[in-house]
């Protein structure tokens, strides 16, 4: 045994009396912004100005909303003076009780003024200057009419030459929750509505957040099930979160941060957080933190299962009645003996390895004694509320990781009961809001969300069996045009940025890229045509709730200010293009954006009679309803015959016959593996390889960071100052490399190099780095990313079943910069 001192030593010399003194930033400095209206400025700076802008001086206060992809949606009251937003206030309705809570925006929503009045705002339509490479940043301003004409002509030509499947709507989640402005799912965007009037587009399935857990759930549970809502944990004897971190990923003080904290505060249910990083959720509500190596959750579950089975602590009755594949007596017909989960665990399967806690300890880094203790504790508690975030599944073996955690929920017999859960991510109460704006895509072909770069590079080679193409055995064409609406997956959020950039620079492959956004994002830099969108403060929409435990709500986010610069709403843009294509009437049905919002409310009232009428809701801003705690699969638990799952067996499939078949038919790259059971799989760049890879011995993950929602808000100065981009490194790993807290360091592998400051901390497991995901890629002249994007380091290699992103499976090295 040895102790690794966690003290970073960087700040402890400072005298205690001088608390905060070292942070006494030398006051002054540059003003926040310059002067002049609509030039990317905030309206005024300084105390005198602030006093003048006090609420009593406001012309009006208008309800708006923060609509980024964190899982929450927070109403915001925007104070307006002389046509400018001068201050942002929180929801002031409701109270501090679960179900009626105020939906207090997080630090990001509170910074939205700097997002709206941002120097990076796109101000007028632009075209990439002829003769320059994508990403060079040379632009020519064009008129809206020129933009519409060029897009319409190119669309027409490409569809004629290559078919509608050559037009791709890339993943984008920069504006969510609304109805008319939503950028995801792609099928419900205004761009999809336009494309559907002219024959459709190539769609994708899955998303960068949850592709693998969705793929896993479809085989295990027959579809996306979710778990019990977090407020229901009050009924649990034990709460376990695998890589689930609501206090950072869903920071809303009316959403899951509020619900998890208040549930813990009021009911104090023992909580275990399993995560390589001591997250805010761990520091705040965990009674025990278990720090496993990234990519080892399935091995940890196997070790826990071994203890539970050995001691008879698993719920055999539940497994017999509701599950397929736990033991040899409950297997599908025709499967050879030795393929049950119990056989796998006890070493009676094909690999002959008993998955003892000692076996699991070597893989996970969690001591065997602690794994035994977890098995005893989990086995003794009932019900157990098990959830997982989306970290465990964002790995090269992510589908199996997700299914292993589902399986642990089944071993405890806690599925479908209050205080239990499915092992999926928490669910919440939701309102059945209508969406009359969405239409059907005539094209049925789709690719995995992570497969679009392959479809640009080698589309006609992609098949169902090798690449997960759906709706067709093989793609007929490569992607020739990309629409990127309110998204940064074109470059920043996709794997291996340097390779992606190289691919996009070849405009003989993908011939046209149209980006619709508010800001000059990394993806916007690689557009051919840039269309400047209005922010949500500059248009009206109805916001259809966020994840908030047992509370449902709806927001009319009104137009607060006139559109800035020469920006237009996406609805206006698509109308303009539709006009050029001769399909304006099909696209608009003669309605304005406000007409559509009214229609959403009117039609939603058919399902939710108590929902206020449009004018009343517009006045109220936000309408809340106290709903029920969600208990996932309660009907299945009550009567599995009457309420079967949509799996082939109608039961929970710990052994999936479908995956068994796929494992024998799909074509996989060397090293990839599909298993019918949720086995631990050692993968490329996994924890086992890390032990022997001398060049790149550190596992890199990318936690969600307070500064941003993915990449949204990434260019907001207040947030960059409050939460600077830093790489988390364990004290021991830093010490071995001579690195102290706040030193500039370089993280690198064969795919790329990133420079940023080090956060030397005991809060992350030895051998693991976390580069907070979503920072904006900013290569210097040498190609070194000074922005700190983790995707400079990650790969394109998709996961075996879902063909999803495996961006937490990455090895790299660290050194002083």
């Amino acid at each position: 045994m040895s102790l690794i001192e966690a003290s970073s030593g960087a700040t402890n010399q400072i005298g205690r009396r001088s608390i905060l003194k070292w942070g006494a930033v030398a006051g002054g400095g540059a003003a926040l912004v310059g002067t002049g209206s609509y030039l990317g400025v905030l309206p005024g700076v300084g105390e005198a100005n602030a006093a003048q802008l006090s609420p009593t001086n406001a012309d009006k206060t208008v309800w708006s909303s923060c609509n980024v992809n964190c899982g929450s949606r927070c109403p915001l009251r925007m104070v307006v003076k002389d046509g400018q937003i001068t201050r942002v206030l929180q929801d002031n309705t409701g109270d501090d009780s679960i179900g009626t809570q105020q939906i207090r925006a997080c630090v990001r929503g509170r910074s939205i003024r700097q997002r709206i009045y941002n120097p990076d705002r796109l101000k007028t339509p632009m075209r990439r200057r002829p003769g320059t490479l994508r990403g060079e940043g040379k632009w020519d301003e064009i008129t809206w009419d020129e933009a519409y004409e060029e897009i319409a002509q190119t669309l027409t030509r490409l569809i004629k030459d290559h078919g509608n499947e050559s037009i791709y709507l890339n993943y984008g989640t920069g504006t969510l929750g609304g109805t008319i402005t939503r950028s995801w799912p792609p099928a419900q965007t205004p761009v999809a509505r336009l494309m559907n009037t002219i024959g459709g587009y190539l769609n994708h399935y899955g998303d960068y957040s949850s592709a693998q857990i969705a793929g896993a759930a479809s085989h295990h549970y027959g579809g996306w099930i979710g778990s019990n809502s977090f407020d229901d944990a009050k009924n649990a004897k034990l709460q376990i979160m695998f890589g689930n971190n609501p206090l950072e990923t869903r920071m809303s003080g009316g959403g899951e941060t509020f619900v998890t904290q208040q549930t813990k505060k009021l009911h104090n249910v023992r909580t275990i957080v399993i995560d390589p990083r001591y997250s805010e959720t761990a520091q705040n509500i965990a009674d025990l933190w278990v720090a496993n190596r990234p990519g080892t959750d399935a091995a940890l579950v196997a070790g826990i299962a071994h203890t539970m089975i050995t001691l008879g602590l698993h719920d055999q009755e539940f497994l017999d009645k509701y599950c397929v594949g736990f033991d040899e007596d409950h297997m599908p017909q025709g499967i050879p003996a030795g393929n049950s989960y119990k056989s796998y665990i006890m070493g009676q399967g094909p690999d002959g390895i008993e998955k003892t806690p000692e076996w699991a300890a070597q893989i996970t880094g969690v001591p065997a004694a602690q794994i035994v203790q977890l098995g005893r504790e989990i086995g003794a508690a009932s019900p157990v509320a098990i959830t997982q975030g989306w970290g465990p599944q964002r790995h090269a073996n992510g589908e199996n990781q997700a299914r292993a955690i589902f399986t642990l929920a089944a071993l405890t017999g806690s599925v479908g009961v209050p205080g239990g859960g499915t092992g999926e991510r928490e669910g919440s109460f939701g309102l059945p809001m209508a969406n009359p704006f969405a239409t059907d895509n005539p094209v049925e072909t789709s690719i995995s969300v992570y497969g679009w770069t392959d479809a640009v590079e080698r589309g006609p080679e992609m098949t169902a069996l090798a690449d997960g193409v759906r709706g067709k055995d093989k793609l007929g064409t490569g992607i020739k045009m990309i629409w990127q609406y309110a998204g940064n997956a074109l470059v920043n959020q996709h794997g291996d940025i340097n390779r992606t950039v190289k691919l996009l620079q070849d405009d003989t492959l993908c011939e046209m890229i149209v980006v619709i956004d508010n800001h000059m994002t990394v993806s916007a830099r690689y557009a051919d045509i840039l269309l400047p969108d209005t922010t949500n403060a500059e248009q009206i929409d109805v916001i259809q709730q966020g994840s908030a435990g047992s509370m449902g709500y709806s927001i009319v986010a009104d137009q607060v200010i006139e559109p800035l610069y020469n920006c237009k709403t996406t609805y206006e843009m698509m109308t303009g293009i539709a006009q050029k294509l001769g399909v304006e009437q099909e696209f608009t049905e003669g309605k304005t954006q406000e007409d559509w919002v009214r229609q959403v409310i009117d039609e939603s009232r058919e399902n939710i009679p108590e929902l206020p009428q449009f004018d009343e809701l517009r006045e109220m801003g936000v309408w809340k309803v106290k709903g029920e705690s969600r208990v996932a699969l309660a009907d299945f638990r009550t009567d599995p015959q009457a309420n079967p799952l949509e799996t082939p067996s109608g039961k929970i499939e710990i052994f999936s016959e479908a995956l068994w078949n796929i494992s024998h038919t799909w074509e996989l790259p060397a090293g990839d593996k599909i298993t019918a059971l949720p086995e631990h799989i050692d993968t490329w760049e996994g924890p086992t390889e890390a032990k022997t890879n001398e060049r790149f011995p550190l596992q890199v993950i990318g936690h969600h960071y307070k500064q941003r929602t993915h990449s949204s808000y990434g260019n907001v100065k207040w947030l960059a100052d409050a939460h600077p981009q830093v790489v988390w490194v364990n004290t021991a790993d830093a010490s071995a490399r001579g690195i102290a807290n706040d030193d500039w360091v370089e993280v690198f592998n064969d795919r790329g190099r990133v420079q940023l400051q080090a956060r030397v901390t005991a809060r992350i497991a030895p051998g693991v780095l976390s580069v907070p995901q979503g920072a904006w890629f900013k290569p210097d002249a040498a190609g070194i990313d000074q922005g700190g994007s983790v995707n400079t380091l990650t790969s394109w290699h998709p996961s075996p079943i879902a063909k999803g992103n495996a961006q937490h499976t990455t090895l790299a090295q660290l050194k002083l910069a």
């Binding site: 045994m1 040895s2 102790l3 690794i4 700040t11 402890n12 400072i14 205690r16 009396r17 001088s18 608390i19 905060l20 003194k21 942070g23 006494a24 930033v25 030398a26 006051g27 002054g28 400095g29 540059a30 003003a31 926040l32 300084g46 105390e47 602030a50 006093a51 609420p55 009593t56 001068t86 201050r87 501090d96 207090r104 630090v107 509170r110 910074s111 950072e248 003080g253 009316g254 941060t257 001591y278 805010e280 705040n284 933190w289 300890a361 880094g365 969690v366 001591p367 602690q370 307070k706 207040w718 100052d721 409050a722 939460h723 600077p724 004290t731 956060r759 005991a762 497991a765 030895p766």
Partner: protein, 205 residues
């Protein structure tokens, strides 16, 4: 004097998100580099290694601090122009007509609460959002906190309900200025002067 006001900070709920800090900046339109409410991360601990495995023994907690409207406001005492004064409710404010921006108060305050605003050439500090309070509203930071970790009120009432703890690491010894602050400590909070950790985010303060 009417009732002395103070802040309540429930450290057990704080996630270090800084919504309080940004709400303050937004409300007061503070220029870059002036942050009246700041959040320190205090962290430490060890990892016990056994072969290829590890057990962490790690702690982390946050402290959100603005001006504590102290009983012994050293900023008032050192101000050479009498620009700093205590109001009826004990809230310390700056008379901008008298302040010459000498920064003596900033130097003296162990919490670095008064801060120089280069835009105005004067010092600036938290007044617990006097205009909001006059309108019957909570200070911006209190109203903003997603975790409900902040509150304010007559200090006697806050202490009666939550005790009188005002010093945990990494805060200065409360006997220096007698802050009107009540802290509900995080489970791992260490008393002032006995800390075993470090401030993880010195540059953010």
């Amino acid at each position: 004097m009417t009732e002395q006001l103070g802040f309540l900070f429930d450290q057990s709920l704080c996630t270090g998100c800084k919504a309080c800090s940004i709400a303050c900046t937004d409300k007061h339109d503070l220029p870059e580099g002036v942050t009246w409410r700041r959040v320190a991360e205090y962290t430490g601990g060890t990892w016990q290694k056994d072969g290829d495995t590890f057990i962490p023994n790690v702690f982390t907690y946050y402290t959100s601090i603005s001006c504590n409207q102290c009983v012994d406001p050293i900023c008032v005492q050192v101000c050479p122009t009498t620009a700093m004064s205590e109001g009826e409710d004990g809230v310390v404010t700056i008379d901008q007509d008298k302040c010459v921006g000498c920064r003596y108060c900033e130097w003296a305050c162990p919490y670095s609460a008064p801060q120089f605003n280069a835009e105005t050439g004067h010092m600036s500090k938290c007044d617990m959002c006097a205009d909001y309070r006059a309108d019957g509203e909570d200070p911006a930071c209190v109203a903003a906190c997603p975790s409900r970790a902040l509150d304010w009120g007559p200090i006697d009432e806050l202490r009666a309900e939550h005790g009188d703890l005002a010093g945990v690491e990494p805060l200065p010894d409360p006997s220096i200025t007698r802050p009107n602050l009540v802290i509900i400590p995080h489970r791992d909070a260490q008393p002032t002067g006995t800390g075993t950790g470090d401030i993880a985010n010195p540059k953010e303060l």
